[in-house]
Structure formats: C-alpha cells, structure tokens
Symmetry: C2
Subunit: 476 residues, 2 copies
C-alpha cells in the first residue's frame, strides 16, 4: 500500500482553482517567513497582502469597531459585566445582556439557521433598507457569505447537468464552488469600457451558447457592488436583469457583500435586488448574500454573514434548513458580529459618537485610497483602471511588452502571473493576476485591494515597478 | 414563473437525512416556543434537548471552562488587559498576549489551515498523547470536526462511484455527507451483545457485498469512542482494523472527538489510531478528527476542531489546502478554543486549580449520570442498554408492543419514532430514534445524551413514560 496520492481523489476537486489564495499568496507567505527569520537580502521590509480583502490583517491593520468587540468580549465572559460597569458605554452592556438572555452561552450550538433574535434584527435591517417586509424565517445566518453561496450552489446544482451564469471577471469563489459540485459555469462578460457595466446582451449570448452546448441554465450570479470590478449596478439595469430571469426561469444569486462600500453614494447609490424584485412584484427566486467581513467592519475572522430567500417555497426552505443542520450552526462569534452589523449604535446611544468616528474614518480612507490609486495608475503608460465607485478593489488593465508575454509562455505561466510574481519579488506587494478572475483573451489585469495604509508610498512602489518591468522587457 | 420548489433542486441533496436535528428536534422547538408564549396545558415545564451533544445549551447549562473564556475575551478586546491585570490569573493574560502577537486581530482571516502557532501546539499535544512525532504542516484546523469530515469525504468521493464503510449505528453526519456528495454508504454492523464492539468479520462482509454491487470501497470510518454507542475500541481490534485497511487499500477516517470522554479510563483507555498506525509502521492513509465541542469543554458554538493527515502525499495536502482556502479560514474563535484545548493550564499555573476543579466536576457528573441512567434503564421491562464506557450517549434497545408497531405503521413512521414522539409529548425530553443512526431490522433504539442535570428526576420521567407506553399499547 502507498500513501494517498492526488490521483486517488475526486477529479472534480482537482479541477478547483482559487487564485485569491493561490500561487501568489503561497509565495507571499514564504517571503513573509523569510523576513521573519531574518533574511535581509530582500528588496523590501514587509510583505503587503493586497491579494485578499482582509482589512484587519497584520500590515493593513484596519482597527475593529469598538462597539462590536466590547459586546463580543462580554458574550465570551459574562462576569466581565461587573468589571466594566461604568467604564464601558451602557448600550454595550445592555446589548450583551439582551443577547445573553436570548442565547444563553455562546458555547452552545444555536438554531441551525442562526439565533432567532438575530434573524429578527436582520429582517428589520432589510426592511429599513428596502422599504419592503422581510421575514426572519426566510433568513439563514451563515459562516460568512461564502458558506451561504456554497450551500445554495450545492442545492441548485445537479452534477454535470446544471449551468450557472457568472460574470467575467468574477470572484473565484463561484468558479471554485461550481467545479467542486460539478456544475457548469456559463460566463458572461462585463463591459470594461463602460466602467465594468453589466450588459444584458452578454447574458443573452451566454444563454444562447448554453443551449447550443446542451447545458440547462438554472441560475444567474450578479456581484453588486462588483468584485473584482467595484462597479455598481444602476436600478434600470437591475430591473432588466430581473425581467431576464423571469423570461428564462433563472434563480438570481445576488452577492451584495460590498453594499456598504460606496465611495460616491450620491452618484452611485446601492439598491438591493430584493427591493427591485419587490417593486416589480416579480416572482423570480432570489437569494441575496451579505457578510460581516466587508463594509467598514472587516470582521473576516469571525466568519459571519447571512442570506435571505425571496420567492422560495416552504419546502425548499425546509430542505435548506436540513442541510444547514448537518453543519450544526454558524459560529456564534460570527452571529454576534451580524447582530452588531445590523443593529449598530443609534444617534442617542452612548456608543454612537465613537462608532460614527471609527466608521467615518474607515470610509474616508477607503475612498481616498481608491481614487488616488486609480488616478495614479491611469497615468502610467499602458495601464488603464476604472475608478471603482464601490467595493474594496481596483482591477487595472495592463498592456505588457511582447517579450514579457513570450517569457511568460516559456515559463508556462499567464503573462499577468509573470507580472504579479515580479511585482511581489520587487516590492513585497501581493496582488492576484487577472487570469484568476477571468478576462478577455489577450488582455492582462490584476486585482489589488485598497486597504493598505501609506497609500503614497504604496502606489509609488507600484509605479516604479511598472516602469522597470516595461523597460526590462524592451518597452511597449 | 413560479417560486423555487424542491423538485427544482439537486436530487442528491433531497436524499440527505440528519435525524439529530430532524422531526423530533423540530417538534421540540415548537413545544419550546409554546412554553415561552405561556401555554400551560403541556404536561411539562421545560423541553430537555437530549437529542444532541450540546452541553452548554439552556436547560443543560454545563458551564464553560473559565480559562478558555477569559483568554477569548482578551482576544476580542485586547485593551481589556489593563482592566483585568491583577484580577485575572497571569497565565490567562500571558496566553492572550502570546496569541495576539502571533495572530494580530482575530477579525482577520488566518492562514486557511489555521494559525501556525496553534497548529504547532496541536502537534505537540498529539506527540505527548501518542509518543510519536506530529508535523504542524500535516494538521488542518477546521470549523468543528464536521467541516473536516465533510472536506475529506468531498475530496475522496467521486460521485456515484466511491464507497465508504460506515459503522451501524453511526453518527448521521456520515450518511448525510455521503448523500450530499453522492457517495455510496457501505454499512457494517457493530455488535450490541459485545458492548457495541467492532467486528472485523462484519467489515469483511460489507466489503464482499460492495464487490458484488460493483462499488469501489475507498475508505473506512471508525468512530472511537463510539457515537451513538459510547463503545471504546481495544488496541488489538485497532491493530486488526489497520491491517484490514492495508489489505484492502482503504483510507482510514478516525472520528476521535470523544477521546477525552472516558468514564472508566483504567479498564477502557483511549488509544489513537495515529499511535497504532505508527506502532505498526503501517503505510495506510489516515485522517483523524478532533473537536472542541465535546470532551468537558463542550464549546460547540465556537465551531472549532482539527484533523491530522498521516501517510498522505504533499500533493494531496496541497489540494486540501486549496479546498480549505475556498472557505478562507475556520473561525478564529474556534481556533482560540483549539489552542486552549491542547494547551490547558499546567499544574503550577495560576489558572490550574480552578481549571482542574471545573474539569473534574464535569467528568464526574458525566460518569455518574451515564452509569445511573444505564442501570435504571436496564431495570425496565423490555429495555437493555450497554453501559457506555465513553462519549456522551446511551443507546438503549427497546422492545415495543405489537400494537405500537402497528400504530407506527399506520402513521407511516418507524416504531422508534412513535416512541420518541410520545416521550417528547409526555415529558418534554427530546431523544433521537434509532432509525436515525441505523439498527438491525425489527430492532428499536433511541439515543439520549447524558448531559441533563437532575438525573434522578430525569431518569424517573423516562421510566414512568416507558411503563405507560407499554401499558397503553397492550403490554409486551
């Protein structure tokens, strides 16, 4: 007998790709370890993880919101309330007490759909956001939005039969999960010249192609605000998308985890698909996902999120509940995080001033960095970059010298991977090549997050590297 | 267009069964809500959830270990250290500081395999337990043991091709996950007359049957200590199991989450399969699972656990890492819990006396209840119950009156479901019928946890109900 080898495994799993933590991230980890163990020969002092929207990680250091963390600390150790009485804001102590009375110990499994009180708070948050009723029974708390997406795709996909429309570029969770469950990805391209807008014609072409290929399209994924694009859908396009789902009997999966990351809310506001579906009185089945990992909360490590089901039968919800119960429940730390996300301090609460200051500072920093980085990248020869109105990313297009493309080919890598690897080697900045998200043939992009403090120095390093790279490979 | 219906979904998912949170649990929830809203017509004052090993839930109220919770509170809100300095034990403050230096904020995604320092601590724990080396790179922290089992089965199973040997009775995670990933369950029966021992002949018969049915057996699941049986494997049997895996090229999945729940450790000690595999210098691939939800910690709501890979190639571990990275990372609260599980206070630490007292009290209570309940149940007419040496459960066999079996048939339910439903209606005690775990045709069991305080009153209610049930249906 021999050890377990990859050839012994499920072939579908071997096909899974997840570039956000792929080759670049693994190399970045290695460089970080080298720096830790005292290697002084690298041309940088720290590795900057711009490959993943992880605002609180070391080196980025976005601070957590105090309100959330004080509530969470009291949930961990209720006797602490006596020690902090009079020292911490009273609304923090009251919130923890209310949650403790409902939950009991956070060391117990909760209801598999999540703590009922927290689901009620989510429903209230959705009602206030959209102006339409929301039912706590239609809400499932999840281990981050990813777990929700995975559950819904698992339930929708009959292996090797079901097609799911996904935007290109996309967040690779979708292609990875489709590969895992042997679903068929049906890509539709977003339009870069129009600020990565969603084109109904592109979706229709993908549907025609699916029919030709004998694939049954069952669902449409929309990421709004976009990842990696940062684009925000206007309401008219959303209405068209909903009508198209009606026409083609598609389930709509709305990934809305960046709904609070709006850099120009006056010109580019967020509308939820739930609101649009209700306004149109549309019967399309809709699953909409939200998360505590993004926004200005950035509580990735808690693993919290939720999805809401709209136009989904009781029987399907019972089946989703059954599937959720096999994994028992989402972590209580994430559920507490969801409660604080959907019930933040209100203007007259003692925690409000600090909460307002903390959240405003983070919003302003994200906005400032995004705009500065976009304008500086756009000034570089061969680089063009949509100035994202939302989310946490930029997705610049980079023209690469002929010789760089040849060198990449020789190495068996995509040209943007070569670019990203050399960027990492030269600056310690880790980005994800566009090939991980998808792009048109012959184009090259990369995704970087707008989370790094010291943006002047950061973008300076990007500029210097780009010029050197172009020069090294003989110019454009 | 119509709302989403169950017939639109993946048929494999529709076949999933998970009785631990099935019909009984849903009815118990409903009764709990009735009590909350003031219904005084029920013959009991509270619902007791004996259907699930969830020690800290309301009504069971096993207290969390203070050490874990104080460390966790400091991780949530590091400035707290100033407030508790001199009030909380210094080793708590030091541990939190050490973890903070390694992790930074618990609001950040960690390494997808888990925080490196915590994986090192797990490896050290395993080395001390087994006397053989353990490599932190071979350890994956998980969102509870269930998530680990799910990942490994997903990776091993080629849909509709791969067979996995599972014990009967089994914890229904296995059948549920096999159904989810379209794997083929190959049941082998445990021997109730021999205290639910594992019989190699039964496994061999299952292998012969698989061959007849054209199914390729790839893995063998062993739950030790057993769930729902509480049986503990002796070392000789474990050696035989390992040899059998060698002979048939089987991957061994060792579910060892109850390794600390030993009621009679002198006569029924726990040995890990890792130790046995190393002692025999066996090449069989082994995945062994552990959890913070069981033992005396019972931190189910944190969702923490780990698995260790033995005799697994680098390439397979890289693939597991890729799959783990799609879900980003296990919740940090669970990872902190794992750290405290594998690095509890040591005898000279200031936290030790309290930790020792808390853990000893819980061990003693579990042992006392298990033994008392087993002996009282065994004294009932038509009931026989193996006095479990480990885990958190009893799995009594119940002889049911002919008329009860007929009545169940009329209702389209299994006889043990009828029994469990009537038990719930009469006493508020929720157990899981044996049909959810598997049993021989014509036999009837139920699983109940040994977690309820007030054991005299509790077992008294079971006794009274049983006698009334037997009488109601015309006697045995």
């Amino acid at each position: 007998m021999r050890p377990l080898l990859a050839e012994d495994l499920n072939p579908a799993v071997r096909n899974v790709q997840y570039a956000v933590r792929g080759e670049l991230a693994i190399k970045a980890e290695d460089l970080r370890l080298q720096l830790q163990s005292g290697n002084k020969d690298l041309p940088f002092l720290k590795v900057i993880s711009s490959n993943i929207g992880n605002p609180q990680q070391k080196g980025l250091d976005q601070p957590p919101l105090t309100f959330t963390r004080q509530v969470a600390a009291l949930m961990e150790y209720p006797p602490l309330a006596d020690l902090v009485q009079g020292k911490w804001p009273q609304d923090v102590i009251d919130r923890a007490k209310e949650l403790q009375e409902e939950i009991g110990s956070i060391g117990a499994y909760s209801h598999s759909k999540g703590v009922p009180l927290i689901r009620k708070s989510v429903a209230k948050f959705i009602e206030e956001r959209d102006g339409f009723p929301s039912d706590p029974e239609h809400i499932f708390l999840t281990t981050g939005a990813s777990a929700g997406v995975s559950l819904i795709l698992n339930v929708l996909i009959t292996p090797n039969v079901t097609g799911v429309l996904i935007p290109i570029p996309q967040y690779p969770l979708y292609t990875a999960t489709l590969a895992q469950f042997s679903g068929v990805a049906l890509p539709y391209h977003l339009s870069e010249p129009d600020g990565w807008s969603t084109s109904l014609d592109e979706i229709r072409s993908a549907l025609v192609k699916a029919e030709k290929d004998g694939v049954k399209p069952k669902a449409l994924v929309v990421i709004n605000p976009g990842n990696p694009t940062g684009a925000i859908l206007d309401k008219r396009t959303m209405e068209d998308v909903v009508r198209l789902c009606e026409e083609h009997s598609l389930v709509l999966l709305a990934d809305e985890v960046y709904q609070a990351n709006l850099h120009r809310p006056d010109t580019h506001p967020f509308h939820s698909f739930k609101q649009v579906v209700r306004e149109l009185q549309s019967p399309i089945p809709l699953f909409s996902f939200h998360s505590i990992s993004k926004g200005v909360k950035g509580e990735c490590g808690r693993r919290g999120g939720y999805f809401e089901c709209t136009n989904v039968s009781d029987e399907v919800r019972a089946l989703l509940y059954k599937m959720a119960s096999v994994t028992l429940c989402p972590p209580l730390s994430g559920q507490i995080g969801v409660d604080c996300l959907v019930r933040p301090p209100r203007p007259n609460d003692p925690s409000y001033p600090l909460w307002k200051e903390e959240t405003s500072t983070i919003h302003a920093a994200l906005r400032h960095r995004t705009q500065l980085m976009a304008s500086r990248l756009n000034a570089l020869p061969g680089v063009s970059c949509v100035d994202s109105p939302g989310a946490l990313y930029l997705y610049p297009k980079v023209e690469l010298p002929e010789k760089a493309v040849e060198e990449a080919k020789r190495l068996g890598k995509s040209p943007d991977t070569l670019y990203a690897l050399e960027l990492l080697d030269a600056t310690g900045i880790c980005v994800v090549p566009g090939s991980g998200f998808g792009q048109k043939d012959g184009e090259h992009h990369y995704r970087l997050t707008c989370l790094c403090p010291g943006v002047e120095e950061y973008v300076g390093a990007l500029e210097t590297f780009h010029k050197q790279f172009v020069q090294k490979y003989g110019g454009l």
